[in-house]
Symmetry: C2
Subunit: 299 residues, 2 copies
């Protein structure tokens, strides 16, 4: 099976699992559950749950045992999108090609949808896969993801990012700050996805460290690719409003290094990622293919 076909089949599998795991629209409170399904089931690349599954397989586990936990990470990722899109944050009206939750429903509902998706995601991580003999791995995975989205992780990156439009600083400070924002805002959860795959397979510390190294570089690559797309793609390609970060005067890899500079940094990262993947799975494995996909994506 080519990697494109593997990716398509992974996506379909994750999509079906998400539809099964989310409370249905007939369950109280109906409107909130409708809004949660609107937020989650509207497409998306599903990179994080696929990462959990592929990392789990690379660490010697059966990916079908961790699909529910993997979906927990997608719910948490979606919570962060719903809150980032709020009027008080990025004030965005389009996401994954559809109206954002506060536009399709209302602002209060969008806040609650995000809150509920974060709780639901961590609930899945703390409870799946079931069984007392897996509790050590499960508690570790839940703690690892909670830390990754904490104030020292994803939420901290977002907090610094919303300040970044107003500050005046040297180019050197700006570069350091940009990398810190990106490593936290996007990198922490992507890295956690890779680590969760390994932890749930019972990887020892030495193997786990190799997954951590791969996940850390992948997170940064993902965000640089995002900045390049924000500066170059159309709304139709992106499924969200492009050029906003640029227009808002926000720090991005493109505003800081120029388009060519950002592309060069991404190419360097892709090479480092290939080496990090090889240290885990040998030559030409799934993680290397996924890293190449992340670096070369068009949407």
């Amino acid at each position: 099976m080519s990697f494109e076909r593997l990716l398509a089949s992974e996506r379909a599998l994750v999509e079906a699992a998400l539809a099964r795991l989310l409370p249905d629209e007939a369950t109280w409170p109906q409107r909130l559950h409708r809004a949660m399904r609107h937020a989650v089931l509207g497409g998306g690349k599903r990179v994080r749950p696929i990462l959990v599954r592929l990392a789990h397989r690379a660490a010697g586990g059966d990916p079908d045992l961790v699909t529910d936990a993997a979906c927990g990470l997608e719910l948490i990722h979606t919570y962060s999108l719903v809150h980032d899109d709020l009027p008080a944050m990025d004030d965005d009206v389009l996401r994954r090609g559809r109206p954002t939750v506060h536009v399709a429903f209302d602002e209060a509902t969008a806040i609650l949808v995000g809150d509920a998706l974060l709780a639901e995601g961590l609930l899945l991580l703390a409870s799946r896969p079931p069984g007392e003999q897996l509790a050590v791995r499960r508690a570790r995975a839940a703690a690892l993801v909670a830390a990754a989205v904490s104030s020292r992780g994803m939420v901290g990156g977002q907090a610094e990012d919303i300040d970044s439009a107003v500050d005046d600083e040297s180019a050197e400070d700006g570069a350091r700050r940009l990398e810190r924002i990106h490593r936290h805002k996007t990198g922490c959860l992507l890295q956690a996805a890779v680590e969760v795959g390994a932890v749930l397979a019972g990887a020892g510390p030495e193997l786990e460290a190799r997954f951590t190294a791969f996940g850390s570089e992948l997170g940064l690559a993902f965000q640089i690719a995002d900045d390049i797309l924000d500066a170059t793609a159309s709304a139709g390609e992106l499924g969200k409003s492009p050029g906003k970060d640029h227009a808002a005067g926000k720090l991005t890899y493109v505003t800081l290094y120029g388009l060519e500079g950002a592309r060069r940094r991404l190419a360097e990262l892709e090479a480092r990622l290939a080496a990090a993947a090889q240290a885990i799975e040998g030559e030409g494995g799934e993680l290397a293919a996924l890293a190449a996909f992340v670096c070369r994506r068009r949407s």
Copy 2:
């Protein structure tokens, strides 16, 4: 030691633990951590962490081993207050006698403070107390609290509550709806606090069921007391703006049953709570005293 003195000493202990567990103001991102500490360390009754500790002792455990996990519940409770106070929700400017987070900082920061406190609270529950031999209890406690604040729990209650000002319905439907809102919005997390205390002590199913019964009634009693206070107390006594629910035409026990009717229901619940506490700890124990405190509180 009288129960009042026990309560004061419990509160001081929880307060010190919260100050220790929250990232300090010198830790990146500094402004977010300042806002988190503003939200959490501004007073409060600390009913939930005290409940965890007292329930843990009543189930045969050492309360000092579960202080950190107990504080996790207070962080989660505080997250719900910070988000409820947002302009798009209850739009409140005063909480625990101080400006709400979106007033003292800004709206985006208040959203992120809530998000970070929820993650931090579940991180504490998934990771404390440490030790592989406690992982089964820890994973269970984290899952139980995550479910309690999910869309089928606390967040669901809040979602229905923000709709309740606009609906027109029969008194009977209103009463059913009010109890459902209260049981979810306030009751689920209070019940979870009691259950976490028992679960972390390794209580078996039969004993745990008695804690659940006590916690369930306690949550409802707490909310009826809250409605009575909202209708009768001053801002100085409450540390928040009183009468708002009433003025907004929201369903409360007072608007539905009148002040005397609400007080009668609360007295009935207090008697049921005393019996439920006795089934756990015998005559005159700490849980019974805590229940009486919740039913008779003046702020």
